[in-house]
């Protein structure tokens, strides 16, 4: 009775999903580690880390893995040092492409690493003058009115926290920032006059 094992097709399917999950987790773990390294291992004081952990939890990552990733970032656990990098290039049609990457060994990107090949490919097909200056704003952070019902108050809080642009789209406030909203502006020191507006920007200072 050859070829009648029920496990075989399941195994093949499982291998595919396992692979996909492993790759997704690698990225999530990297993001957690980098966030913890940049802003500390306290989830409440580090919005970027909180966002990363929330995403990881949504992807069914076990808490053990999350804790390990945080501890690696803060240095409590031994592990490879992960750095953040950014690459810029141009793709087909002169489209600007901005890549944010993390790596334990950035020199690898200079050799035969696929990232290098990809960016090289993108760079060669680039007309040099078009679409320069892909972006100024570093992050967008939508906040719904229930958290901050008064538009003026929201605007004031956003500007105090260093926002560059503030617009209203439908029932959401869109806050653009040029840099990390690292100041925890939702913890007013003097008074708690308005419901908090929570920056969900995941951007942090570059290491490069």
């Amino acid at each position: 009775m050859a070829g009648h094992s029920k496990w075989k097709p399941i195994k093949r399917k499982k291998a595919v999903t396992d692979n996909r999950r492993a790759s997704a987790w690698t990225k999530l773990i990297r993001e957690i580690t980098v966030a913890a390294k940049a802003g500390g291992g306290d989830i409440d004081g580090n919005p970027r880390l909180r966002l990363a952990v929330d995403t990881a939890k949504a992807a069914n990552m076990p808490n053990v893995n999350i804790d390990r990733a945080i501890k690696k970032g803060t240095g409590e656990l031994e592990g490879e040092t992960i750095v953040e990098l950014a690459y810029e290039g141009y793709g087909p049609g002169g489209v600007a492409i901005y890549i944010e990457a993390t790596s334990d060994n950035p020199t690898r990107h200079r050799g035969r690493h696929p990232l290098r090949l990809q960016t090289a490919m993108a760079a060669t097909s680039a007309p040099p003058t078009r679409s320069r200056g892909c972006s100024t704003a570093r992050g967008r952070s939508p906040s719904t009115p229930p958290r901050c019902p008064n538009e003026e108050q929201a605007l004031e809080l956003a500007l105090e926290a260093g926002a560059e642009d503030f617009t209203k789209e439908g029932d959401q406030f869109i806050v653009s920032t040029a840099r990390s909203l690292s100041t925890p502006c939702w913890r007013p020191s003097r008074e708690r006059a308005s419901p908090p507006i929570r920056p969900r920007s995941r951007w942090s200072r570059r290491t490069r």
Partner: protein
């Protein structure tokens, strides 16, 4: 990231671009890919296949 200006792509360029971005996103080292292209929903669906 919010682009200051955008570039419209269509046809073969669109197909290549989607392929490139997919390939970049597949890499473990890559966290996020931003780009300033503008594409019709139809073209995007076609390029994705």
């Amino acid at each position: 990231m919010v682009p200051k200006n955008t570039v419209k792509v269509e046809g073969k360029d669109a197909e290549q671009l989607i392929k490139l971005i997919d390939a970049l996103e597949e890499l473990d080292d890559v966290a996020k890919v931003f780009s300033n292209f503008e594409m019709d929903a139809d073209a995007m669906a076609e390029a994705g296949n």
